[in-house]
């Protein structure tokens, strides 16, 4: 049989952007992995099923070390979808692909790649300018366990509570007119001026611009209160709202 090659349709190639978690390990890896395990233990399932990008820029490591790290992570169910900032000499076949330009540069950029950063201590040397956040969405019902609201474009307002096991990820600020029991991550595209407001704080995890705080790290006096949170340098600050 001869194949008909008369089909005039062209192949469609589509671009899509995804929200990924970026892990930026530091040396020695053993210590970093201990901290990662600690975070994973306290935020059950945080990495499960999520695209994770490994940022290895400025790390003086060779290919073997990187391979070992990827194996260690795979053993923790953290699967790496790409590597950012890796010198070509340490990448190779059988490794996740190299990724570039992980930040939205401007609105004309072809491939926008909104990325949440998850970092514990030092900020990255190159702090990108925050984009002005212009948009906002309002959700008029409770966010249930297992649901995620992801809105990299701007502010998220929830009229209702955010359940344990639910999460809100916003490029801008997060306003919750209800109890925050799940996770809230504001300024997820690198916006250090984003804030989190909630009527009653019972959160499992809070993050602003990649700096995070777990339930256990929060001052006990804040629990159950109406609270706002913001970033000062590398610390999440909080105060009660009356």
């Amino acid at each position: 049989m001869t194949k008909m090659l008369t089909d005039a349709r062209s192949i469609r190639i589509k671009g899509r952007s995804f929200l990924a978690v970026v892990l930026a390990p530091d040396l020695p890896f053993d210590d970093w992995l201990v901290r990662l395990d600690d975070l994973a233990a306290r935020s059950a399932g945080f990495f499960l099923g999520r695209p994770v990008v490994l940022d290895v820029s400025d790390l003086p490591i060779d290919r073997t070390q990187l391979k070992e790290l990827i194996t260690e992570l795979a053993g923790r169910n953290v699967n790496i979808m790409g590597i950012e900032g890796g010198r070509p000499s340490i990448l190779g076949p059988g490794m996740p692909p190299a990724l570039k330009g992980g930040r939205p540069v401007s609105d004309e950029a072809v491939a926008k790649e909104p990325i949440i950063e998850l970092r514990n201590s030092e900020p990255k040397p190159s702090v990108p300018e925050a984009r002005p956040t212009l948009q906002s969405i309002v959700i008029r019902e409770p966010v249930r366990s297992g649901q995620s609201v992801i809105f990299p474009e701007g502010d998220v307002t929830i009229i209702g509570s955010v359940a344990s096991g639910a999460e809100i990820i916003a490029g801008g600020s997060i306003h919750i007119y209800g109890t925050l029991r799940g996770r809230a991550m504001a300024g997820s595209l690198g916006n250090a001026s984003a804030r989190i407001f909630c009527r009653k704080l019972e959160a499992e995890l809070l993050a602003i611009d990649g700096i995070y705080k777990m339930a256990d790290d929060m001052a006990p006096g804040l629990r159950g209160h109406s609270v706002q949170l913001w970033l000062e340098g590398d610390s999440i600050m909080a105060e009660k709202l009356i």
Binding site: P142, R144, S145, G146, S161, T179
Partner: protein
């Protein structure tokens, strides 16, 4: 057209099957035509609680696969004329529960019965999502403890997204049924408070069923508690819940708080 209710919870063992049977028998005692449908393929239970296990010939899967007619599979209750059971299969694979088949069966049942009550399996897998798929309203069965409440919250999210009603942009009517409520443990603070559960789940409450030996006794003799012992505390709570499902507005009583509002007023006067 009848109303389709799914009895669901996420978490296992909280009292879905007990509640399906009790609510079904309570509604049938109002002379409404009721069918209770077991969606728990492979782990069927509803036939036992209804006392019909020895009368099962055909089941839901047989009907879906076209091996039996619906009328052949329906089992009429021995005590109540208007109460029927559509049993689940204990032996067949649950993959035989197809979306098209379920839709066909539910549509047929709705034509004949006033109430089609679907007993959902635990979990959030296909059995549970198929049981809720065609529901008009949901009874969310929850125990007053943290894990049950969180699972119910997850199920409410699915009810609002994975059902036909949700996909048509309509609102699924959801009712909270708090079961296995232990007044003594509530007193000691070992259980979540009713108001806390309500605050977390924010759906209307249709009843609080006390933890009670009467439920176990009823299921041991193969009878819904609302038939076995209609005067028992759990049965009375189920009867009230059934009336609320049918649209009546009744004040809710919390088991163990015998002094109603009057008791409180008098107590204060005496003090």
């Amino acid at each position: 057209m009848g109303k389709v209710i799914v009895v669901t919870s996420g978490k296992g063992g909280v009292g879905k099957t007990t509640s399906t049977a009790a609510l079904g028998a309570a509604l049938a005692q109002r002379n409404e035509r009721v069918v209770v449908v077991d969606f728990d393929v492979g782990l069927r239970n509803l036939d036992l609680v209804m006392g019909a296990e020895r009368r099962v010939v055909y089941d839901l899967i047989n009907v879906i696969q076209g091996e039996a007619k619906l009328t052949q599979a329906l089992i009429r209750d021995k005590r109540l004329e208007t109460l029927f059971l559509l049993p689940a299969s204990q032996t067949r694979d649950k993959d035989n529960l197809t979306p098209e088949g379920v839709e066909r069966v539910i549509t047929e049942l709705k034509r004949v019965f006033d109430w089609v009550i679907c007993d959902s399996p635990a979990g959030i897998e296909s059995g549970a999502t198929l049981a809720m798929r065609h529901a008009d309203m949901a009874v969310v069965v929850t125990n007053p403890e943290v894990s049950s409440v969180r699972d119910s919250d997850r199920i409410i999210g699915l009810l609002d997204s994975k059902t036909m009603k949700a996909e048509r942009g309509e609102r699924m009517e959801k009712h909270l049924l708090l079961t296995r409520y232990d007044a003594n443990r509530a007193e000691r603070g070992d259980m979540l408070k009713v108001e806390d559960v309500l605050e977390i789940l924010s759906i209307p409450l249709i009843g609080i069923i006390p933890e009670s030996m009467d439920v176990l006794r009823a299921s041991n003799i193969g009878s819904p508690v609302t038939l076995a012992d209609a005067r028992s505390a759990p049965a009375m709570a189920y009867f009230e819940a059934a009336r609320r499902l049918a649209g009546e507005v009744l004040p809710i009583t919390i088991p163990g708080e015998k002094r109603g509002i009057f008791g409180k007023i008098f107590a204060r006067r005496a003090a």
